[in-house]
């Protein structure tokens, strides 16, 4: 066991539990629990979005992919600034103005029935659980490698920590853990960057030159991924990365923690600066790893290159830096996990229990208790699934969650806000078709069927996103439902643009 790493990991656990203890004294009502009483500022929320979104797949996965595949590994990065620009332009402010605690609130604000809320909740739960398993799998592997703890025990530790954060500290603890993680991750990345650049007289172009000189031009220019199917598959993943975050429940939920649309706007602007800086710098780290660690060493440690960043830190800064970067990755896992658990528990407790089952007739005490029970239950479910999912590829699970979000959630959210004619049938058919097609296509894909796959791509986005939109459209134009029970579109239109008037 690596002693320095153990000390750093223990320090991360201590700080996050300290934050949770502090937050627990302020976590008194249902609104405190889900959205921190809507009292988060723009800067805080911007950093929290960064901490919420940048997963260990983003940090370790993309660095490794660039180290091993050069430009071909960068495709997971360049859609992200576009994704958050779209979040800013089309969903952040309407989400704040229409929603209370969940994505389900936004769609229900227009159609007002239990069925549409139940479907939205199921979508949120499934997307979150898939994303959660990817984090568990990454977490387990990382801890096993760095601390020598068994995968199952590691998964259990993460699951227990995530439940404690949410049960006791709710959204306030989640927010500050995410801010803490964002600061750590940005400092760790910046430090590694400076160490790499210091060997090139702080000239980033020289890093690319050296890479091309030692590894060949293939490392700095795009190349074929291996045939038409493989190429289309990469296109599919690229689109999932650019559109997924616009429908990702744990990202959207962050816009409900701020007091008004103006703050929601500022928070995406802040997040976009930090996240952009983070992702645009990853090639320097990836190439640094390829030069100072070597591609053979990197793929020997992990075939996908997931350990390239920790290996680079060891090569440049020895044990101490390795322990620090490992601890940063650990904090990253915990913060992302907390965000997912609170989003999923909101769908379960606020949408399904309070509004569908109890018809909105639950006291604040009962709602808060349900939220806590749900958080515990979600962690247990994710944990059990993660124990069986050890063999799955981390990037596959994460990009699958993106594809599900873009196919099942995105069409319904966009059309609820922007399409006057959209109706209940359209919303239901779009959400169901988007979910069924994205999950269904993966079940018959090479990920699960190997050679005998019926669907050729590993990622369904290229097909399932159009299906989600098409089903929403067809459901709307082919149905002739009467609009009683619907909130008039005019109200949605006014509210999404000017707010409800409540501060």
């Amino acid at each position: 066991m690596n002693v320095t790493a153990s000390v750093f990991f223990a320090a991360i656990v201590a700080v996050t539990l300290g934050i949770t203890y502090w937050a627990s004294k302020r976590n008194k009502s249902t609104s405190d629990h889900y959205v921190a009483g809507k009292g988060i500022t723009g800067w805080q929320n911007g950093l929290a979005i960064t901490g919420d979104f940048v997963s260990v797949g983003g940090f370790l996965g993309i660095t490794g992919a660039i180290a091993l595949q050069g430009f071909n590994g960068f495709y997971l990065s360049y859609g992200i600034p576009i994704a958050f620009l779209l979040v800013l332009l089309v969903v952040a402010e309407p989400m704040r103005n229409l929603g209370k605690y969940t994505v389900g609130d936004v769609i229900t604000s227009r159609f007002g029935t239990g069925s549409v809320r139940a479907i939205a909740a199921v979508n949120t739960l499934l997307i979150s659980i898939v994303y959660m398993i990817s984090q568990f799998v990454g977490a387990g592997a990382l801890i096993q490698l760095l601390l020598g703890i068994n995968y199952n025990v590691a998964v259990l530790i993460i699951g227990v920590l995530a439940s404690v954060y949410i049960l006791a500290g709710g959204m306030l603890a989640t927010t500050w853990i995410q801010i803490f993680k964002a600061v750590l991750l940005l400092s760790g990345t910046f430090l590694l960057l400076l160490l790499v650049l210091s060997r090139f007289d702080f000239n980033p172009v020289a890093v690319f030159d050296e890479t091309a000189a030692t590894l060949g031009d293939g490392a700095v220019i795009p190349s074929d991924y291996g045939g038409l199917i493989a190429n289309l598959d990469v296109l599919s993943i690229t689109i999932a990365v650019a559109l997924g975050p616009v429908g990702l429940p744990h990202v959207l939920m962050r816009f409900l923690t701020v007091p008004d649309a103006r703050t929601a706007r500022s928070s995406v602007a802040v997040a976009s600066v930090f996240m952009g800086l983070f992702f645009i710098l990853l090639p320097i780290l990836g190439y640094g790893a390829a030069i100072y660690v070597g591609q053979a060493e990197i793929s020997a440690a992990n075939p996908a290159g997931n350990l390239a960043a920790p290996q680079l830190s060891e090569a440049l800064g020895g044990d101490l830096l390795l322990a620090f970067i490992a601890a940063v990755s650990f904090a990253t896992l915990l913060a992302v996990m907390a965000g997912i658990v609170i989003a999923a528990s909101g769908a379960f407790a606020h949408d399904l229990y309070t509004n569908v089952w109890r018809g909105g007739q639950a006291t604040d005490r009962e709602q808060l208790r349900a939220a806590r029970v749900a958080a515990g239950a979600i962690c247990v479910i994710g944990l059990l699934l993660a124990l069986g999912a050890q063999g799955f590829n981390l990037a596959f699970l994460a990009t699958l969650a993106f594809a599900m979000a873009a196919s099942a959630n995105l069409p319904a959210i966009l059309l609820t806000i922007y399409w006057r004619r959209f109706n209940l049938t359209g919303a239901v058919s779009g959400m169901v078709a988007g979910l069924v097609s994205s999950v269904g296509l993966v079940l018959i894909s090479p990920n699960l069927l190997g050679e005998s796959a019926i669907f050729p791509f590993t990622n369904p986005a290229l097909v399932s996103i159009p299906i989600g939109f098409l089903a929403s459209y067809l459901g709307t134009v082919l149905s002739s439902e009467n609009r009683e029970g619907h909130t008039p579109y005019e109200e949605i239109y006014v509210r999404s643009n000017v707010g409800s008037g409540e501060a």
């Binding site: 430009f71 960068f74 495709y75 990065s77 360049y78 859609g79 600034p81 576009i82 958050f84 620009l85 779209l86 800013l88 332009l89 089309v90 402010e93 172009v205 020289a206 690319f208 030159d209 890479t211 091309a212 000189a213 031009d217 700095v220 220019i221 795009p222 074929d224 991924y225 190429n231 990469v234 296109l235 690229t238 689109i239 650019a242 649309a261 103006r262 706007r265 500022s266 995406v268 602007a269 976009s272 600066v273 952009g276 992702f279 645009i280 090639p283 008039p488 005019e490 109200e491 239109y493 006014v494 509210r495 643009n497 000017v498 707010g499 409800s500 008037g501 409540e502």
Partner: protein, 105 residues
């Protein structure tokens, strides 16, 4: 807020101006951003046109990819500045209907 107030707000001059300005900016911007984005994967995956090296060993593909980040930052800044001015119109629209008693609504 009551239903009549929403209809009221929808009919104010301030609300119409707000929606007109938002739409005039957002529709072309979103279309441009989506096109700008999708051309990169298509060209880099299926063609060789971005394979040339431009600045040292930095290829056109990398320059284009970095441009996505700069585009996002620039558009974010422009939108943020515009939208902060539009807030005034939203406030006016609400006030016209609630008779200036914005805070009691």
């Amino acid at each position: 807020m009551q239903q009549s107030e929403y209809s009221g707000i929808a009919e104010t001059a301030a609300f119409r101006e707000l929606v007109r300005r938002k739409r005039a900016f957002l529709v072309p911007t979103v279309v441009f951003v989506l096109l700008f984005f999708i051309v990169l994967p298509i060209l880099s995956i299926f063609t060789d046109v971005l394979d040339g090296k431009v600045i040292g060993a930095i290829s056109w593909a990398y320059l284009y990819a970095f441009a996505q980040f700069f585009l996002a930052w620039v558009v974010t800044f422009i939108y943020w500045r515009k939208a902060n001015r539009w807030d005034e119109l939203a406030r006016k629209a609400r006030e016209e209907v609630s008779g200036g008693e914005e805070n009691s609504a």
